[in-house]
């Protein structure tokens, strides 16, 4: 079943076309990762899916209905979004922050209900944040904080969660912790996940489907084994590498050896797009 469909979507920002006639669809219950070099339009695409950016052309449909036609509150019950970096650290406890995820479900005057508390508890248990529920965000490590933010989106109880580079600023261990958590939530509760990732190995290991962006256009889409190829590394990222499969986990991985030798920066598509 199609959850989200983009039809011929173009987005312009500051008089520049950032997304160009994109067609894509997201099926229920799968994990999608959007990859591509800086400035290729990954985050723009995610924000467009979230209804935070309006396409200049084309349609974004959520369950067959125009995204624009959903009132904000109702939209927040269908999808949750975790942005790339948090501008400021709210001065509240973990439990309070997670409970804000219930906002779109609560009456306008913000009355707390029994079921809300249960769901907040559940969201914290799923993300392993229950042990420090009463602590302030400022007293947590980066990895713990990220799990708290994910708990908040989880408390929103939406069928679709959008994550913008959820592993940025985390060390390797915590990066994988977040990836496994996302994977786990998807498999257990069939929550559809769409995320922007920088690390190709994360994307290859944890996604059902990939979307490769290049200069505001879709370069390729499909399952990791089809999309992650030597050729894609060369064409999209301008690097030399080899692609393989781990014998034990059966997951795809790629090994980047370095920049393409005869690299001409002015001809790089990512840079051309910035002009």
């Amino acid at each position: 079943m199609t959850l989200l469909r983009l039809e011929d979507v173009s987005v312009r920002l500051h008089n520049r076309t950032v997304l160009d006639s994109l067609n894509w669809q997201v099926e229920v219950g799968k994990i999608y990762s959007i990859i591509g070099p800086n400035g290729s339009g990954k985050s723009t695409l995610l924000k467009t899916c979230a209804g935070q950016l309006k396409p200049a052309q084309g349609k974004v449909l959520l369950q067959g209905r125009l995204l624009d036609s959903y009132p904000r509150r109702q939209l927040a019950r269908h999808m949750a979004m975790l942005q790339q970096s948090q501008a400021s650290l709210p001065d509240v406890s973990v439990r309070s922050l997670v409970s804000y995820g219930r906002f779109p479900h609560q009456p306008v005057w913000g009355a707390k209900r029994k079921e809300d508390e249960k769901i907040v508890e559940w969201a914290m248990a799923q993300t392993g944040t229950l042990p420090f529920a009463e602590r302030k965000l400022s007293n947590l490590s980066g990895g713990e904080r990220q799990r708290v933010w994910i708990a908040m989106t989880l408390a929103q109880q939406s069928g679709l969660i959008l994550l913008d580079e959820p592993t940025t600023y985390l060390d390797v261990n915590h990066q994988w912790e977040v990836m496994e958590l996302v994977h786990d939530l998807n498999r257990k509760y069939s929550i559809t996940i769409v995320m922007v990732l920088h690390d190709l190995n994360h994307a290859a290991a944890c996604s059902d489907e990939l979307l490769v962006m290049r200069a505001g256009e879709m370069y390729a889409s499909g399952p990791p084994e089809q999309v992650i190829t030597d050729r894609m590394l060369r064409d999209v990222f301008g690097v030399r590498g080899s692609v393989g499969r781990d014998d034990r986990s059966g997951r795809m991985h790629c090994h980047i050896e370095g920049l393409l030798e005869a690299v001409d920066f002015s001809a790089q598509p990512a840079i051309a797009a910035v002009k």
Partner: protein
């Protein structure tokens, strides 16, 4: 500041405790205010006069002078503090206060025009000052608008418009320096001779403002997460910002137009309440209301007491106590 916050980092029960303590502080300050003056009245006597219709010798003083004046003080403090707390939330800036949206300069200019140029309109001072306050806020909001209102633009537009109106105030004060006397008290803010009519003006704003603000408290919590997060959680950011700013304007304008330009309450009280109770607006808003009421009432009592029988306007006392305290908070925050 972190240390202080950590010390008070506690769930619900602590928040409730602080609210109870602040309520007690308001009651004490109110009793102290009614009992203090040229004639001292004991708390038990006040109780009899106010709640049992006791027909004693002080009845007139309690009912016609001290009780209404004290109540005006509590409501003015509550409104200004609540207005400041709302604005600090909307602007996501703990240094925002009712000055930011031009309430003081607007009320100031219009008030001064009445007091200096049209003294015969003196009875219209409050509505005209109210008009100036809300008008200035509306102009600032419009000037800051560009595909929505960003807090920084709003603050900058506020600074500019306030400076513009402020120069008008200064010009009037200089051109008509012989008539400045009456205007001065309005400029610092005072509760002298405030009674039941003033209470009637301000009470509806307080009641409606507080009810709406407490409904808005959960929205402020969401707004504090930043525009993008707030939208993701289903909040209509622009609408929330507009309504909360409008509410803050009405609260501050109602207070300022009645007692004059009482400074600092709207800045210091919410800031102090934040240190006491944390940043959860469901607790911070009521705490600000109570602390504002207690502080203004207490300062007014001191202002009457200190140089008795001479009475200082409460604004002077607020500034004298408030400014050093504010500097102290700033130093802590810088650490």
């Amino acid at each position: 500041m972190r240390m202080v916050i950590n010390a008070f980092r506690v769930p619900m029960s602590k928040g409730v405790l602080v609210i109870v303590a602040l309520t007690a502080a308001v009651i004490l300050a109110t009793g102290f205010s009614i009992g203090t003056g040229a004639v001292r009245i004991s708390l038990s006597e006040i109780w009899l006069y106010v709640f049992h219709g006791y027909d004693g010798p002080m009845k007139e003083i309690v009912w016609n002078i001290r009780l209404p004046r004290t109540l005006v003080g509590t409501l003015v403090g509550a409104n200004l503090a609540l207005s400041g707390a709302l604005l600090q939330g909307v602007m996501r800036n703990s240094l925002a206060d009712p000055h930011i949206i031009g309430v003081s300069s607007g009320a100031g200019l219009f008030g001064i025009i009445v007091l200096i140029l049209f003294p015969h309109l003196w009875s219209m001072l409050t509505p005209i000052a109210f008009l100036g306050a809300s008008g200035a806020a509306a102009i600032i909001y419009l000037l800051a608008w560009k595909d929505g209102v960003q807090p920084v633009r709003l603050i900058l537009a506020g600074v500019a418009v306030s400076a513009f109106l402020g120069s008008g105030i200064s010009a009037l004060l200089i051109f008509f320096s012989d008539r400045v006397n009456g205007a001065l008290v309005f400029m610092v803010g005072g509760l002298s001779a405030k009674s039941w009519p003033e209470l009637e003006i301000i009470l509806p704003y307080s009641l409606i403002g507080m009810s709406l603000a407490f409904i808005g408290s959960s929205h402020l919590n969401i707004l504090a997460l930043g525009d993008s997060n707030a939208r993701g959680l289903g909040l209509s950011v622009e609408a929330a910002r507009f309504f909360l700013t409008a509410l803050a304007t009405l609260l501050a304008a109602s207070a300022v137009s009645v007692v004059g330009l009482l400074g600092f309450v709207g800045l210091i009280v919410p800031h102090s309440a934040r240190l006491l109770i944390g940043s959860d607006y469901r607790f911070l808003l009521p705490a600000s209301v109570l602390l504002g009421a207690a502080v203004v009432t207490f300062c007014d009592t001191l202002a009457r007491l200190m140089f008795a029988p001479l009475e200082l306007p409460v604004g002077i006392m607020m500034g004298a106590l408030g400014a050093p305290f504010f500097l102290y908070l700033l130093r802590r925050e810088a650490r």
